[in-house]
């Protein structure tokens, strides 16, 4: 699918979609969205990038191997649960902090990191699948 037209637009579409995916991830706690959907959107973004520009650029874009991203996500999710053990709470108990940054209140919490972990896992695993399939297709 390497038409000039698609190839020109795809990178921008991809970054737009990645941005949107992060948005969906971060607002998931309060409105529709969350790590899984965010991850799927991000993976779709890379999928489009891959279809337009090939697997190589996608791999370089992600820098890490997608499966490592997924593993890091799982690790992050698990560790965000472990955090509550440090304060002698039950596993996965949500810990919240609301620091003021530049005058606005920002919510930082273990459930947020958990959701980011979900995002990374989905992004990594689904991209890995898509890239693996795509690679098979284009060699």
């Amino acid at each position: 699918m390497r038409t000039i037209i698609f190839r020109t637009v795809a990178p921008y579409l991809t970054s737009l979609m990645v941005l949107f995916s992060i948005f969906v991830l971060l607002r998931g706690h309060n409105e529709a969205g969350g790590g899984f959907i965010g991850g799927l959107i991000a993976a779709s973004a890379f999928g489009i990038y891959g279809i337009a520009c090939g697997v190589g650029p996608v791999r370089r874009a992600m820098y890490f191997h997608p499966m490592s991203v997924a593993a890091a996500g799982l690790m992050l999710a698990v560790l965000s649960g472990v955090a509550s053990l440090v304060v002698s709470a039950q596993f996965l108990t949500g810990l919240w902090a609301f620091p003021q940054i530049l005058g606005s209140e920002v919510a930082i919490s273990t459930p947020l990191f958990f959701d980011i972990g979900v995002y990374l896992v989905v992004l990594g695993a689904i991209s890995s699948i898509a890239l693996a399939l795509e690679e098979r297709d284009t060699d």
Binding site: M1, F6, L13, M17, F20, V24, E31, A32, G33, I37, L40, I41, S44, A45, G47, I48, I51, A52, D137
Partner: protein, 120 residues
């Protein structure tokens, strides 16, 4: 009837009308997807179905007042595009094989009047 009442009534009526139209659109689109006859036709049908569904979501959001459904619509925009791209890619790749070129020819035959889908 003041303007407000009219606006409200008109809006409600418009929504009902829109739902009717969109249901018809669903029906027509599905018909095209089922009829085919070629794969691009069906993919096109799915693309339109995505658009109709986006519209449907918007109308339901208006109707129910839960405007947060717009997020669902956005998601559908994104993956709808992905689906079309992937299918285009699929069509392109399947053109590679001799075997499938036969299918493509058969598809064109079908377009020229033969019934779609049913071939030995």
């Amino acid at each position: 009837m003041n303007l407000h009442d009219f606006a409200v009534a008109f809006f409600a009526l418009a929504l009902t009308g829109a739902l009717v139209l969109l249901c018809i659109a669903f029906l027509l689109t599905v018909t095209r997807i089922l009829l085919g006859p070629t794969l691009p036709d069906r993919v096109l049908g799915l693309d339109v179905l995505t658009n109709v569904a986006i519209g449907f979501i918007a109308v339901i959001a208006l109707d129910s007042g839960y405007t947060l459904y717009v997020d669902v619509a956005i998601g559908l925009c994104l993956v709808g595009f992905l689906a079309t791209v992937a299918f285009a890619r699929f069509i392109l790749s399947r053109g590679k094989t001799e075997h499938l070129r036969r299918e493509a020819r058969a598809g064109i035959d079908a377009e020229a009047g033969l019934s779609g889908g049913q071939r030995p």
